[in-house]
């Protein structure tokens, strides 16, 4: 088993955090191997940011595979840049609120999540990434939901006041993921 995931969006949307949380959960709570590979330009906010996560039961080879099993896109440029790297039958998770470009493939599964909209409804646009992460775990169950949440909880330990907001965002995402199965 080897799952290759690409997460892409604008700098500041929390792309790297999704990838790091996935890799951290794998490291802490499973016997699986993982690699997190970030790529970014020189920009901080507003530039493009993307990262690759590999989850495997054996040795991880290429940190950035030629083709992806799962693609999580948070903005239009990322959709257009990476859509052709998704394997036939692969899963595309889109932040449906702002990813509005036409998806020119009919051989993939599309999981639409109104991430930005729901994050703003929850009162903080920054939880977009946690919603998308919830949707990803809910749909793929690449590892158990509890494992993911306990990692988020652990990572946010120093900002405990943010836990309820993130829990709400994660659960909302989970629901979208499960609903789309």
């Amino acid at each position: 088993m080897e799952t290759n995931i690409c997460i892409a969006g604008f700098g500041g949307q929390g792309v790297m955090t999704i990838g790091k949380f996935l890799a951290q959960a794998v490291t802490d709570s499973t016997e699986l191997n993982t690699v997190f590979f970030p790529t970014y330009g020189a920009e901080q906010r507003g530039g493009t940011a993307n990262c690759f996560v590999v989850i495997a039961d054996g040795e991880v080879g290429t940190p950035k595979a030629d083709f992806m099993d799962d693609l999580i896109v948070l903005n239009n440029p990322s959709l257009n840049k990476f859509i052709d790297t998704l394997k036939p039958g692969g899963n595309l998770f889109i932040n449906d609120t702002i990813v509005t470009d036409e998806i020119k493939r009919d051989d993939i599964n599309i999981i639409r999540v109104p991430g930005t909209e729901k994050a703003l409804e929850l009162g903080n646009g920054k939880v977009l990434n946690v919603i998308m992460l919830g949707a990803y775990i809910g749909y793929t169950e690449v590892f158990p939901v509890d494992v993911m949440w306990s990692t988020i909880e652990h990572k946010l330990a120093k900002k405990a006041s943010l836990l309820p907001l993130n829990k709400a965002a994660f659960d909302l995402g989970l629901e979208y993921g499960r609903k789309n199965k």
Partner: protein, 355 residues
């Protein structure tokens, strides 16, 4: 053993501290900034010293000074920054100072890109400065290997009294992977390491038994004798070259590489095997000394060709492969450079074309 998720650069820095490194000087450059950043926080915790120097030249000379004082000392940089350190590394080699330095290499030549590449191979293995000195050069393919090699590098440096280079790349430096960290040397062990150097190090001697840390001199005969001693040491390393042989025995096509490229190559070998194609991998773990003997394990009666894979245009690693293979099989190359990643597919296609 507990595994922790660490970024390559930070894991290298932690491994150095655990190996007893107590001085680091460096100057910022992407993609290795997390090494000095980590050291700035970590070294004071163990009574070590961190200096963000005014330049790469200053950093390597501060490392020279600390190594001369018997302290395990390190610097790091990336590609063009490593070029700036060349003079100081050569001085360390002549003065027979044990230092460790890390090149988290990026695209080049010139200023280069900030993305990963392997374009410093010849510089690393053949001419890291003037004068023809040699060093052990380790090429990690995973974060775990980067940790283990950095940890061991300090022992090799002390054993040889010579610089050691860890030749990483921007991928190894920036990925996060689970690693098992080696044990931290105790303060007593660190002190004992320093004490073991007191015979030659500038640590304060009685009158009449002065320590000379000398990067040069005017006596031609003496100088040549130093070169002969160093050469004998370089020759003695030949049997210590390290390589990984993967599914080589029955291979009809061999992929050969090092560092991050070898890791991608290994997954290409698995993909080829899954298609029923007998592919194998020869991976250099030390690129100096070069593991020539590893290439003798190839069965040249059935091996139809060798694919050299590296993130460098023009190819460089291939020059050493040619010497090791010595005409026993044809060699082709799969190359990228300037911060562009290799694709597994391109390696698979090249391997199939050899059959």
């Amino acid at each position: 053993m507990e595994r922790v998720l660490m970024k390559g650069c930070e894991a290298i820095a932690e491994a150095a501290v655990r190996s007893g490194c107590r001085f680091f000087a460096g100057y910022p450059i992407t993609p290795q900034n997390e090494i000095p950043e980590y050291m700035a926080r970590r070294l004071p915790e163990v009574g070590g010293q961190f200096v963000q120097s005014e330049s790469e030249v200053a950093a390597i000379n501060m490392v020279y000074g600390n190594a001369a004082g018997g302290v395990r000392a390190m610097t790091s940089s990336s590609s063009c920054g490593i070029s700036l350190k060349s003079e100081g590394v050569s001085y360390c080699a002549m003065a027979r100072l044990p230092i460790v330095y890390v090149n988290v290499s990026r695209g080049g030549p010139g200023v280069g890109t900030i993305q990963p590449a392997q374009q410093d191979y010849h510089q690393a293995t053949k001419a890291s400065g003037n004068g023809g000195f040699r060093m052990r050069v380790f090429a990690p393919a995973t974060v775990q290997e980067a940790v283990d090699m950095t940890y061991a590098a300090f022992d090799y440096a002390d054993k040889d009294r010579n610089p050691v280079l860890v030749l990483a790349d921007g991928v190894i430096g920036s990925i996060l992977e689970p690693v098992v960290l080696p044990p931290q040397k105790t303060e007593e062990e660190v002190a004992a390491i320093k004490d073991s150097k007191s015979e030659w190090a500038a640590v304060g001697h009685q009158l009449g038994s002065r320590a000379w840390i000398n990067p040069g001199g005017w006596d031609n005969i003496l100088y040549e004798n130093c070169n002969k001693d160093a050469d004998a040491m370089y020759q003695s390393w030949a049997d210590e070259a390290e390589a990984e042989l993967y599914k080589v025995e029955d291979a009809e096509v061999i992929i050969t590489s090092y560092g991050i490229s070898a890791r991608i190559s290994k997954s290409a070998v698995d993909a080829l095997r899954a298609e029923g194609i007998k592919a194998g991998l020869v991976r250099a773990k030390t690129v100096f000394p070069f593991p020539n003997k590893a290439y003798d394990a190839i069965n040249y009666d059935i091996c139809k060709g060798i694919v050299d894979v590296e993130m460098s245009i023009p190819a460089q690693f291939v020059d050493d492969v040619k010497i090791a293979v010595d005409g026993r099989a044809p060699i082709t190359t799969v190359l990228r450079s300037a911060g562009n990643m290799l694709s597994k597919g391109a390696i698979i296609d090249a391997a199939k074309a050899m059959l």
